[in-house]
């Protein structure tokens, strides 16, 4: 009896289980699933976007620091400026002797707004006797509106503290400081937004 009752009571459940979902069930479940997936995907995309930006920023930081390190090292060491302009400067670097003006090599730093590059032309920085070559230190560089990539300043006993702009150098003899200004940009491939970094630093030509 118990066995029969069991069979009788189980038959309707089996049939019901085999029936398809109703339209309402489907719509409700799909809506819920969509909301769930939307939330998960949004979070995932946001994290992906943040991760990509973070990676870009880290890469930017590393490359910018390296480029600045190169430029700062050689500008501090330079004993003369051979030529200069709004987008490039050529420095004369002394050798390892006690002489301040014994030339080891010349090096040129160039900002190319069209190509979006900041490059160095000279022998390898750690091998002054090496062959001169052009190395792109940074890509994705842009000029800051209203500001030259390279600016030059002279030394004045008064005025550094109150107004740098009045100390602009007008010839190679006067140049005592070099300032670089530009934007370094990376565009994430997954999203429309980009990572920007403004580079602005000023270096004293210690041997000049």
């Amino acid at each position: 009896m118990h066995k029969t009752a069991s069979r009788i009571s189980s038959t309707p459940r089996t049939e019901k289980a085999r029936r398809a979902f109703t339209l309402v069930e489907l719509m409700v479940s799909m809506a819920l699933a969509s909301f769930l997936m939307l939330g998960v995907l949004s979070s995932f995309l946001m994290m992906g976007r943040s991760g990509a930006n973070a990676q870009n920023y880290t890469q930017l930081e590393a490359k910018a620091r390296k480029a600045l390190e190169y430029f700062s090292r050689e500008s501090r060491l330079a004993y003369a400026v051979s030529s200069y302009g709004a987008s490039s400067v050529t420095l004369r670097i002394p050798d390892t002797s006690s002489s301040r003006t014994a030339l080891a090599y010349s090096v040129t730093y160039t900002f190319d707004g069209t190509a979006g590059t900041f490059s160095r032309t000279g022998p390898p920085i750690d091998t002054p006797s090496g062959t001169s070559a052009t190395t792109v230190l940074l890509t994705g560089v842009e000029q800051i509106t209203g500001s030259n990539p390279f600016n030059y300043y002279r030394y004045v006993t008064t005025g550094y503290a109150s107004g740098f702009t009045s100390n602009t150098a007008s010839n190679v003899t006067e140049i005592k400081q070099i300032e670089i200004n530009f934007i370094l940009k990376r565009t994430s491939t997954t999203v429309a937004s980009a990572t920007n970094k403004v580079l602005s630093a000023r270096f004293i030509l210690r041997n000049k």
Partner: protein
């Protein structure tokens, strides 16, 4: 309640775990990137601190050189086995400069004071909070400051009257007094005559119709600070009339004009010189001695009187009277310095050397300008109360001289050329004689103060290896 088939049970959990895993990986990467960026920024920040620390060490070396004190409170000790090399750790071998967040730093300095160009190397070690270290190294070479890095320098105005030319040459290009000096000629002249004025006034440098083949520097930023006449010029050879080459002018000139004092060597005191005198006097001669110091109240020569330095001797005269005209020559009187001798005058009063003036060399071949040095010793304090010293000087056919008189108004007369350098309060170049700056004076006639002549960061392993054993203390 409806249940999922056995085969589908746990699939939601797996999907959830997968998502969670992906999120965890993303978060971990994000955090690692952030940490890396923070670490980079931190190292960069303390890298700058290390540079400052290196400079602190090099400053210690420069201070010790200028004060001739290395040991004791100066913080250095003699390097074992070397008589002129010193080493020191700052703030000390057991203490550190404290930075924020548990960061600390020390700088080790090695100094070689044996050469004419003393040499110092500093190594800064910054220990970060996590125990890692940052090391920066740099070296400097030092040289003596010179009063004469420019040919004609005035605190105030610098005026040329006459159709003169200013250029340069080097009488001692190898900076070796033992080799023969180079006389000025058209084959060694250069368009590197340097004139400068500290003044910020209009026409600080009045070139007039002079041809300045070289450089000019003024303290004021106004273009009116330099005045060039219609037939004057300032620039390299070939500069057109009335033109100032902008690449040869700087508007940022600044310098110190330290007072100068007579040497401390005890002089032989003699009476005022009013007649023919030969120095050193016969009674003062000592075998093997070539430099003689004299103290005299005044020098006043007239007619054909002559003060002559004997050949082969160096004479230093301190004129002790400080007011009135204390050195004066008129008529055909002269101060004569033969080709193998030198004369150095320290004068606090006014000076009027006219007549035949100073004959530094033969009548046609000048000595090196350094053979006749005239120092105006009136101090800035005295000049502020009693006025500037007046120095008027001329040569006979030419004037070869070095004049340092920061509190004197100097007038150079005559139509002969002037060779050497002049530093003064105000300069008037009168006559049609040209001025030839002797560039060697920037190296051979120095003050007692040391300055950094070259700075170099040691970045490569070979650069650092060259000094590693000297800094391993």
């Amino acid at each position: 309640m409806r249940t999922l088939p056995h085969s589908k049970r746990g699939s939601v959990l797996i999907v959830a775990l997968l998502f969670a895993g992906l999120i965890a990986i993303s978060l971990t990467s994000y955090i690692k990137l952030t940490i890396m960026t923070a670490r980079l920024a931190n190292r960069s920040f303390y890298g700058n601190a290390a540079e400052n620390l290196v400079d602190t060490g090099l400053e210690q070396a420069l201070w010790s050189l200028n004060n001739s004190t290395f040991t004791g409170t100066a913080g250095f000790s003699l390097r074992s086995g070397y008589a002129t090399q010193y080493q020191g750790t700052f703030p000390s071998s057991t203490t550190y400069y404290s930075f924020s967040q548990g960061v600390k730093g020390q700088v080790k300095v090695w100094v070689d004071n044996s050469a004419t160009a003393p040499h110092a190397v500093a190594k800064a070690i910054i220990t970060l909070g996590d125990g890692t270290t940052l090391i920066k190294q740099a070296e400097v070479y030092m040289s003596k400051r010179s009063y004469f890095t420019n040919g004609l320098v005035a605190k105030n105005s610098l005026t040329f009257t006459g159709n003169v030319a200013i250029d340069s040459w080097s009488s001692d290009p190898d900076a070796n007094a033992a080799t023969a000096a180079i006389a000025y000629s058209s084959s060694v002249d250069k368009d590197a005559g340097k004139i400068a004025s500290l003044s910020v006034q209009v026409s600080s440098i009045s070139v007039g119709n002079a041809d300045v083949y070289g450089y000019a520097a003024v303290g004021g930023s106004s273009a009116d600070a330099i005045d060039v006449g219609a037939t004057g010029r300032l620039g390299p050879y070939g500069t057109a009339n009335g033109v100032i080459d902008p690449t040869r002018v700087t508007y940022d000139f600044t310098t110190n004009f330290p007072d100068v004092t007579a040497p401390t060597t005890t002089p032989t005191t003699i009476a005022a010189i009013n007649s023919n005198t030969t120095l050193p006097r016969a009674v003062d001669l000592v075998s093997g001695k070539t430099t003689y110091y004299y103290s005299v109240p005044s020098i006043s020569l007239t007619g054909g009187d002559k003060v002559a330095v004997s050949a082969g001797y160096n004479v230093v005269i301190t004129v002790t009277n400080t007011t009135g005209t204390t050195v004066k020559t008129t008529g055909n009187a002269e101060i004569n310095i033969p080709s193998t001798s030198t004369l150095t005058l320290y004068v606090a009063g006014d000076t009027a050397i006219a007549g035949n003036g100073v004959v530094n060399g033969t009548s046609s071949v000048p000595n090196q300008p350094i053979a006749f040095q005239l120092y105006g010793t009136r101090s800035a304090t005295t000049a502020a109360s009693v006025g500037m010293q007046d120095i008027a000087i001329k040569g006979n056919g030419y004037l070869a001289a070095v004049v340092y008189a920061p509190n004197a108004n100097v007038t150079v007369n005559g139509n002969g050329d002037t060779y050497g350098a002049i530093v003064c309060n105000q300069a008037n170049m009168v006559g049609n004689g040209n001025f030839h700056y002797d560039e060697s004076l920037a190296n051979t006639l120095s003050t007692s103060a040391w300055q950094v002549s070259k700075w170099r960061e040691l970045t490569t392993s070979s650069d650092r290896a060259a000094y590693s054993y000297r800094l391993s203390f």
